[in-house]
Symmetry: C2
DNA sequence: GTCAATGATCGTGTATACAAGAAGTGCTAT
DNA sequence: ATAGCACTTCTTGTATACACGATCATTGAC
């Protein structure tokens, strides 16, 4: 809890939304949140305004804030953009790889290997996130990294669901291997192509997504 | 001025920043803004929180808000991402083109032709924006379109500066022609490639950008 | 003369009060 | 009994008040 209550609340509420504690469509009552966090309405409102600006909630004038429900189609579109950005990050990473980034990628990659081998989808979920973040960082573009991290956050719940589908764990890891090879070989185009297909949703995986979203 | 003062102020201040009325690094005093717009500090603060969330300003606790100065390198990174997103939009547009989008692209494209022929860089600046927006819309991905429009807004001042450089006007328009051809031919990969190089900044154009940014 | 410390002033952060609009409920009339 | 209208209540939107922290200036000491 930083010295800034408004920002703290923003993160707190954002996490609650992304972890599905507040379901899409749910109404966020300012007073309820204020008493729940033991503060007044002012910082709560500031947090809500920020979440509205980011696009996580929608504030309708005089009618309160509701959690936005992206819906399957929009989630698909978000993955499409994510795939493109990750592709760019990968291609930059291949071109600009330095020792530190190489080690970070190697470390997170081997952690993925362990959790994939153990079949621990929750552990893999976390390690996978660190792996992707290592690639964002290796691209050496602060702005791109920020965009990737932000979008990754918003897609987090869906990525999690996806990992539970079929034998996605081992498939995912073998794709990681190819991606690492391409980046370490300095093959930017190949890294871009592999990351795009790794992150993107194509063919039957879209119906998997819709199905897993319906489960909630 | 919608019924919501906070949102109105956000747009107002955002425009002031993007049109360089508030210079990067400048401090935004809440009370000054409040009296200037004839409201109290509350909606001003809400507007500032939102601009902070978007990334246009930075609010340092107890030290006020300052307009963020991206700096040449970060602007370059933003163009890099913009190029990637526009490339995706173009490739989707080529695949999903329908009659209405085709007409919108044709219309904005011919307006660009006129202002380019007239050598009117201000007119071309506006027509160019509409042309690019027509492509975003033709991609039929709401999320991508929003991301493109938002990033385009933030890069607007720099795009404008770029048009003043050398004979960029005619070069830009001839690139537009090739892009339109590729999209209308349904060649997504070519449209993507062309848009990426059209929007991106490579080689000597980076030094042009830095030089034009220093002019301000 | 310069540097540091302390106090004053200004601006931000949070709370609370007040106003205005929207939604829900109850009553009446058909 | 149902539909429409009015009233009440609840929630949001804006203003204002108060407190705490940061910055700046002034004074004193080395």
């Amino acid at each position: 809890m930083s010295e800034n209550v408004g920002r703290w609340l923003r993160d707190e509420i954002e996490n609650s939304i992304l972890s599905n504690e507040f379901s899409p469509g749910e109404r966020l009552d300012e007073m309820v949140l204020a008493t729940r966090f033991g503060v007044s309405r002012t910082p709560v409102r500031e947090a809500l305004m920020q979440l509205d600006a980011i696009g996580l909630i929608e504030i309708r004038p005089r009618r309160g804030a509701i959690v936005i429900d992206p819906g399957p189609h929009r989630v698909y579109e978000m993955f499409e953009v994510m795939a493109e950005l990750e592709g760019l990050a990968g291609s930059l990473a291949a071109r600009r790889l330095d020792k530190a980034s190489r080690e970070a990628i190697t470390a997170t990659h081997s952690r993925c290997e362990q959790s994939a081998a153990a079949g621990d989808s929750d552990a893999y979920y976390y390690d996978n996130e660190e792996f992707h973040k290592a690639i964002y960082a290796a691209g050496r573009s602060e702005f791109l990294e920020e965009q990737c991290v932000q979008l990754h956050r918003r897609l987090r719940p869906y990525r999690r669901l996806q990992l539970r589908v079929r034998n996605r764990l081992s498939t995912s890891f073998s794709e990681h291997c190819a991606i690492v090879d391409a980046i370490f070989a300095g093959d930017g185009d190949e890294a871009r192509r592999l990351l795009r297909t790794h992150v993107g949703i194509q063919g039957e995986r879209f119906s998997d997504l819709v199905a897993s979203m319906a489960l909630r």
